[in-house]
């Protein structure tokens, strides 16, 4: 297996500048500011075909190419460190253990995009990740790697951390920018694209922390080396954060195309040696797959799409046999309802309806037609809302209904769960 990000053993000091430099850190930035033109960097990133690691898998090079160089206005770069998609905790690994890899990559990206001020939008609750990144910024600034005349060149750039304050929707790229403007985190309608009018109406690139962290390696080793890892359509590696009913939860860096079965083994298998009931492969907004469906799959964007789901945010949640999927959906729908920003009617009302219907089913007051209602409301957001939150809730709902409908019918008919309403992995249920 190839490691592009988790390339070193984590120790007490492996996050420091000295340690990063001993691993060759900032040599790529130095070469970039001395020898490369901004467009050369973007060309390499485009050739590498690196796709966004935040959820939508959009090619980073294509996003960057929209930015017009020398157009006489400021450009901005924002690293999305909101890590809000439930089940996802991979960017945190980078922020805590490889903050300088993110910073070097952001500086290289800023050079390519002619950015003077770059931001890291970090979820408000993160504590250690914040302290680690803040001290890395201080170290880099003191060493002349950030600020004015970086490494003696004409390139100036500062990276600022912007901390959120508890809102899932602020992970959505346009809401993130509205939030950095100090306002309520409302998503914005497109067009215009954020690369045309983003932060304070200026051209802005928003990329996930992991997406950006790949940039240093791509520029250092070349697009071909990056493409040599992973599959033809999904080059590189992914950080997958595995949680739920596994023996050893944690973050794993896998080559795209890695076998799910091997990853499950790497995590020590299902808790208590239970059978695998289901897996949510890419954060709760990706569609659930049954154990049988995911077992033979390779983990890449094509295979997951063919199976009707996605690698999404890389937040993989493992669910053991005996878990009640009705209660699980209830947890999710309560969350989406709570986090809908309320701008768009179908989402604002729809999230409330979904939540009330699932609560009613769990209270034993469900009606047979409730299942069709859940389906109908799930589809109603499709394309009618500003951002993807309502759609995500719809995917989660229809995904679980498609695979586990009998559990819903059972609860409605018998007024109780087929699995005791159980969410934890217990010996008997």
């Amino acid at each position: 297996m190839t490691k592009l990000i988790m390339t070193f053993p984590v120790t007490e000091t492996s996050h420091t500048l000295a340690s990063y430099r001993s691993r060759g850190g900032y040599a790529t930035l130095e070469r970039v500011v001395r020898e490369m033109r901004p467009e050369d960097v973007t060309r390499e990133v485009t050739a590498a075909g690196v796709q966004g690691r935040g959820g939508a898998a959009f090619p980073a090079g294509r996003k960057w190419s929209v930015i017009k160089l020398n157009d006489g206005q400021p450009h901005y770069l924002c690293a999305n460190a909101d890590e809000g998609e439930p089940g996802t905790f991979k960017d945190r690994w980078i922020l805590e253990n490889a903050p300088h890899l993110l910073l070097e990559s952001m500086l290289i990206a800023a050079y390519a995009l002619q950015v003077r001020h770059a931001f890291v939008y970090m979820r408000g609750e993160f504590d250690l990740p914040y302290r680690r990144l803040a001290s890395a910024i201080d170290e880099a600034t003191a060493a002349g790697l950030m600020g004015e005349r970086i490494l003696g060149s004409a390139f100036d750039c500062d990276v600022l951390i912007y901390r959120g304050a508890g809102s899932y929707v602020c992970g959505e790229a346009s809401a993130l920018l509205t939030s950095i403007e100090g306002k309520r985190g409302y998503p914005r309608n497109r067009p215009p694209r954020l690369t045309v009018r983003g932060l304070y109406q200026r051209p802005t690139v928003v990329n996930n922390v992991e997406t950006l962290s790949n940039i240093t390696g791509i520029v250092r080793d070349g697009a071909a080396a990056f493409r040599a890892v992973g599959t033809a359509d999904s080059p590189g590696t992914r950080l997958v954060s595995v949680s739920g009913h596994v023996n050893r939860p944690g973050v794993h860096e896998i080559d795209l195309g890695y076998a799910f079965e091997r990853l499950l083994d790497d995590c020590g298998g299902v808790l208590d040696g239970r059978a695998l009931k289901a897996v949510i492969p890419g954060g709760i907004s990706s569609k659930v797959l049954t154990g049988d469906e995911i077992m033979p799959l390779a983990l890449d964007h094509e295979s997951l799409a063919a199976a009707g789901s996605s690698l999404g945010s890389g937040g993989m949640i493992v669910i053991a046999e005996g878990t009640c999927m009705v209660r699980l959906l209830q947890v999710m729908l309560r969350f989406y309802h709570h986090e809908s920003c309320g701008q768009c009617t179908p989402c604002r009302e729809g999230m409330g309806w979904l939540h009330r219907i699932i609560d009613r089913i769990v209270a034993g007051e469900g009606r047979p037609e409730d299942i069709d209602r859940l389906y109908r409301i799930s589809a109603a957001n499709d394309g009618t809302t500003i951002c993807g939150l309502g759609d995500a809730a719809g995917y989660a709902t229809s995904g679980i209904l498609n695979k586990f409908r009998p559990e819903f019918e059972y609860w409605i008919e018998h007024k109780r769960s087929r699995f005791d309403g159980n969410l934890v992995c217990r010996a008997s249920s």
């Binding site: 996802t88 250690l128 304050a165 508890g166 309520r184 939860p249 947890v331 992995c425």
Partner: protein, 162 residues
């Protein structure tokens, strides 16, 4: 209403923050200033909303909207010890519901409530990006990962004596 002593004491920090941001980014300072005020005082006072609006030259309503939108910000005090239990998917799969019930009976508080003596507030919260070490409990913002009921109960007993 005039600004609180807390606000006045933080102005040098706010000035420093302002210098770090690009020119024209005053509006962006709303969130960091509110976070800092809350960190220093426990919540955001009405008088400080007006003071901040004036200091940043932004509309007061923008600050009020931010306060009502962001879940971590509050205009009312919470207990001296704020215990928050994550109840999202991965934490629920690792026992968050039982944990919440036990903490609730230990503290004699329903989620959302503050004890009469103002010492404890119990709340639930959403995914904290720490699902691999579920369940997770925050105590005054500090992560307690792989939280077990006995361990958190012991900690609460310690805080009760503190």
């Amino acid at each position: 209403m005039s600004a609180s002593p807390t606000f006045a004491s933080l102005v040098p920090e706010f000035d420093a923050l302002r210098r770090r941001f690009p020119p024209g980014f005053e509006s962006s300072l709303v969130l960091p200033c509110l976070r800092r005020l809350q960190e220093a005082w426990g919540h955001v006072e009405d008088s400080d909303i007006a003071a901040l609006a004036e200091y940043l030259a932004v509309p007061r309503v923008q600050i009020e909207e931010a306060l009502s939108f962001y879940g971590q910000l509050r205009r009312e005090p919470v207990g001296r010890w704020h215990v928050e239990v994550c109840r999202n998917v991965s934490c629920s799969l690792r026992g968050a519901e039982t944990l919440l019930e036990r903490l609730s009976s230990k503290l004699g508080l329903a989620p959302g409530d503050t004890s009469a003596d103002g010492r404890f507030t119990l709340s639930t919260c959403e995914c904290l990006g720490s699902c691999g070490t579920a369940p997770v409990v925050l105590v005054n913002g500090v992560y307690h990962e792989n939280a077990s009921a006995p361990e958190i109960e012991r900690m609460i007993e310690g805080l009760e004596r503190a």
